[in-house]
């Protein structure tokens, strides 16, 4: 079995990864509820028309409001956002999954895409990220 299958004990945390568990689900309820509402076009338009008022309607926490205002995806996740729901907000903001990936990794979008393509050429994730980061 290759090395990448040797998993450490489950208590060890996973680098660069937040598990959306009960604690996050509790913390992020309002933010995710707002994102869930974006399944309806009228709600997306209401958000776009008055972002402050719409966030207030869902009682976002200050940390959530700040992360949304700053388009800070890692901040949204730290504030309990779940990517399956956040993806709907990203759509409103005109961000695709690669834009979001770029924002979270700190890579430029083209760098993030190149990192994905490098993995497609057989490079490891770590190597691909290192190259994208440092040329």
């Amino acid at each position: 079995m290759p090395d990448t299958l040797t998993a450490p004990p489950p208590t060890a945390s996973i680098p660069g990864t937040v598990l959306f568990d009960g604690s996050a689900a509790q913390k992020g309820y309002q933010l995710n509820a707002m994102c869930f509402s974006f399944n309806e076009r009228a709600n997306r338009e209401a958000f776009a028309a008055d972002e402050d008022a719409y966030c207030a309607r869902f009682s976002l926490t200050p940390a959530q409001r700040k992360a949304v205002a700053e388009r800070d995806v890692l901040g949204m996740i730290a504030a309990g956002g779940n990517i399956y729901y956040l993806a709907k907000l990203a759509g409103i903001l005109g961000l695709g999954v690669q834009d979001i990936g770029a924002l979270q990794t700190g890579l430029p979008v083209e760098g993030f895409k190149a990192m994905l393509l490098a993995q497609g050429r057989g490079q490891s994730y770590e190597q691909s990220v290192a190259e994208a980061r440092h040329g």
């Binding site: 079995m1 290759p2 090395d3 990448t4 299958l5 998993a7 450490p8 489950p10 996973i14 680098p15 660069g16 990864t17 937040v18 598990l19 959306f20 568990d21 009960g22 689900a25 309820y29 995710n32 509820a33 994102c35 869930f36 974006f38 399944n39 309806e40 076009r41 997306r44 995806v73 890692l74 996740i77 779940n82 990517i83 399956y84 729901y85 956040l86 993806a87 709907k88 759509g91 409103i92 999954v97 690669q98 979001i100 990936g101 979270q104 990794t105 993030f112 990192m115 994905l116 393509l117 993995q119 497609g120 057989g122 994730y125 990220v129």
Partner: protein, 279 residues
């Protein structure tokens, strides 16, 4: 007697729907992925299933955190797609098969599973895209749907072992179904990918190959990893492999691989396509 013709597995990345819409199938970026499907289509044409039992996960369309199921079984007469938040064109609706759904539910509860039973259910791209790929020219889907949802969104997720057992219980239901339908089992999602966090963009072909190599002959091998280990190995959304594991269980004890395709990246995802037949 109903016949279980086999199982079809595929990734369900939303971007696939965009590629189909734009007609990008032959572009260099998409061709290695779409080239995996003519064999699937030929196989389905030969097998002519008329019912599909589909294991997938909701992407925040049908369920919210107010009431989040671990396992949800559809028992509706019709399943509509709906706006998932991006205002995209809607996918075609599915006719349901409520009688078979209830038969599956009865078996699951008898086998000590605790499903949510859904007489009304929306379906998202995780169900629609596999059909768009399999039946690109269909005016309407040639199969009736029994959708089974697995929680991959909010931890604690059901273990791989539990998902395999779920599938095996569904297999018992299909094996005892008195109808004469031809049934295909479908598992959608994965393989390795991670959309969120600083590790966004993570993929792991080693783990994916481990899954693909073992799914037919030794699916229990995939249950040796805990959920946390699967997240580490496959990425936060790579846990969608749970849908594959459950679908493999539903195929029955022994299976053989008929077709495989694997290509990355498709969007942020390592995309795989697989067809298994029972033996």
């Amino acid at each position: 007697m109903a016949e279980l013709v086999g199982a079809y597995f595929t990734s369900h990345v939303p971007g696939i729907g965009g590629a189909i819409h734009r007609g990008d199938q032959e572009t260099p970026y998409w061709k290695p992925f779409f080239d995996g499907f003519p064999p699937v289509r030929e196989w389905l044409e030969a097998m002519r299933p008329d019912v599909a039992v589909v294991f997938s996960n909701d992407h925040g369309l049908n369920f919210f955190l107010d009431k989040m199921p671990t396992f949800a079984v559809g028992a509706a007469a019709e399943y509509r797609n709906a706006d998932e938040g991006w205002g995209l064109p809607l996918y075609k609706s599915f006719a349901g098969h409520p009688a078979l759904s209830w038969h599956v539910i009865e078996q699951l509860v008898a086998d000590e599973f605790d499903p949510v039973t859904c007489q009304a259910m929306l379906v998202d791209h995780a169900i629609s895209i596999p059909f768009e790929l399999a039946y690109p020219d269909a005016a309407e889907w040639p199969v009736r749907l029994v959708p089974i949802g697995i929680n991959t969104v909010q931890h604690p997720l059901p273990s791989a072992r539990r998902c395999l057992a779920l599938g095996r219980s569904v297999h018992r239901a299909l094996a005892s179904w008195p109808g004469n339908e031809r049934i295909v089992v479908i598992g959608t999602g994965g393989l390795s990918h991670q959309l969120d966090g600083e590790r966004a963009g993570f993929m792991n072909p080693d783990y994916d190959r481990f899954c693909l190599d073992n799914l037919a002959a030794d699916p229990d091998a995939l249950t040796r990893h805990s959920i946390e280990e699967i997240v580490r190995l496959a990425g936060t959304q790579g846990v969608e492999v749970l849908n594959w594991i459950a679908a493999r269980g539903a195929l029955g004890p022994a299976a053989v691989e008929i077709h495989r395709n694997y290509h990355l990246p498709i969007s942020n995802t390592a995309a795989a396509t697989l067809v298994l037949e029972p033996v």
